[in-house]
């Protein structure tokens, strides 16, 4: 869970009516995310690790960490399949 992902510079996000449209300007594809999905993608852009995001969500919303971990992991895999993020490898100590 200390994996880091990166968001290519070709990924642009725009907010419309509390939902987020994410565009891959290289592939000319668009995806819609809700506010939580957009929050995760924005934090990936800001170089947070998955664990850091899990910690923040479970602390702020008093939610079980294991449940958060599972949900985030599924979502990350989906983002990766859609080409919106890439695995940047584990951070060096």
């Amino acid at each position: 869970m200390n994996s880091k992902y990166m968001c290519p510079s070709s990924i642009e996000m725009m907010e419309i009516d509390d939902e987020w449209i994410v565009m891959n300007t290289e592939q000319f594809t668009i995806t819609k995310l809700n506010s939580m999905g957009a929050w995760i993608l924005k934090n990936i852009k800001e170089n947070l690790t998955i664990q850091e995001m899990i910690d923040e969500i479970s602390n702020n919303f008093s939610v079980d960490k294991l449940a958060v971990e599972s949900d985030i992991q599924d979502f990350i895999e989906d983002l990766e399949k859609k080409g919106l993020i890439k695995n940047a490898g584990k951070p060096s100590i």
């Binding site: 725009m14 419309i16 009516d17 449209i21 300007t25 290289e26 668009i30």
Partner: protein, 259 residues
């Protein structure tokens, strides 16, 4: 060498060609003006290029100073500031498509607007834009809208800014040529066409509208920065103009519903 000035929306375009048939085609399809205003785009057009149309695939090559768009029946070479372009074409069909390609890229580059695959008719000084997949009825709706003024029957020129959206009279026509009665109009709405037994309209949520709009824009993707401009203008368009699903019969009763 023939040289004329034409006006497309707000833009002054200088045309140069050695071909009389090309000159005549331009004069038939575009608004010729006598003007000493600054030229926005200068185009040199030649015939005798390539071979007849095979498919819509356009190869795009972006170099340091030029962008080249190549299809079997046309080639466009334009400088990266979109000030001067050379178009070489096989025939009038190719010329029409090359012009659409170039003008679309020009207005996106300048962040001025979009070419939107749609027909557009005026009712009570407002522009009603009809779009949809191929065969949905854009041309049919244009014909059913007689005697209303049409601003487009194939590709609408949409000027987008932070404060407003304007729909300009488009020379990029399929069947019904413009009579240039009206320069531009503000939009009342965008209607995504669905042929149906019943006539009704449903407002599309703005966040879903992006999916409906994006594939209706004439755009040849070659550069993330340009695509970014397009995305930004799409957002402004969605924010300013309501977008509906329109279910209509093949008659003009939909006008009672939408206007």
């Amino acid at each position: 060498m023939y040289m004329i000035m034409i006006k497309i929306a707000e833009h002054m375009v200088e045309i140069k060609t050695d071909s009389k048939p090309i000159l005549q085609w331009i004069q038939r399809h575009f608004k010729q003006v006598n003007s000493h205003n600054a030229i926005d785009l200068s185009i040199n057009i030649k015939d005798g290029f390539g071979s007849s149309f095979t498919n819509y695939d356009v190869e795009i090559l972006s170099e340091s100073e030029f962008i080249t768009y190549t299809r079997t029946d046309y080639k466009i070479k334009v400088d990266k500031m979109f000030q001067k372009a050379d178009i070489s074409v096989y025939n009038n069909f190719a010329l029409k498509h090359a012009f659409t390609n170039l003008y679309s890229a020009f207005i996106i580059h300048h962040g001025w607007g979009l070419l939107f695959h749609s027909s557009c008719a005026i009712q009570k000084h407002r522009a009603y834009i009809f779009t949809g997949q191929s065969g949905a009825g854009k041309s049919t709706v244009a014909q059913l809208s007689t005697p209303r003024i049409l601003l487009s029957d194939e590709a609408a020129i949409v000027n987008v800014s932070e404060s407003e959206v304007k729909i300009y009279d488009s020379p990029f026509r399929s069947e019904i040529l413009s009579t240039y009665e009206l320069d531009y109009c503000e939009p009342a709405g965008i209607y995504v066409l669905n042929q149906s037994l019943e006539v009704q309209k449903k407002l599309i949520k703005k966040s879903d509208a992006a999916f409906v709009i994006m594939d209706k824009i004439f755009h040849w993707h070659h550069d993330s920065m340009e695509t970014n401009k397009l995305l930004s203008m799409c957002k402004q368009l969605i924010e300013h103009v309501p977008i509906y699903q329109l279910y209509f019969q093949k008659n003009n009763t939909f006008w009672e519903l939408i206007s």
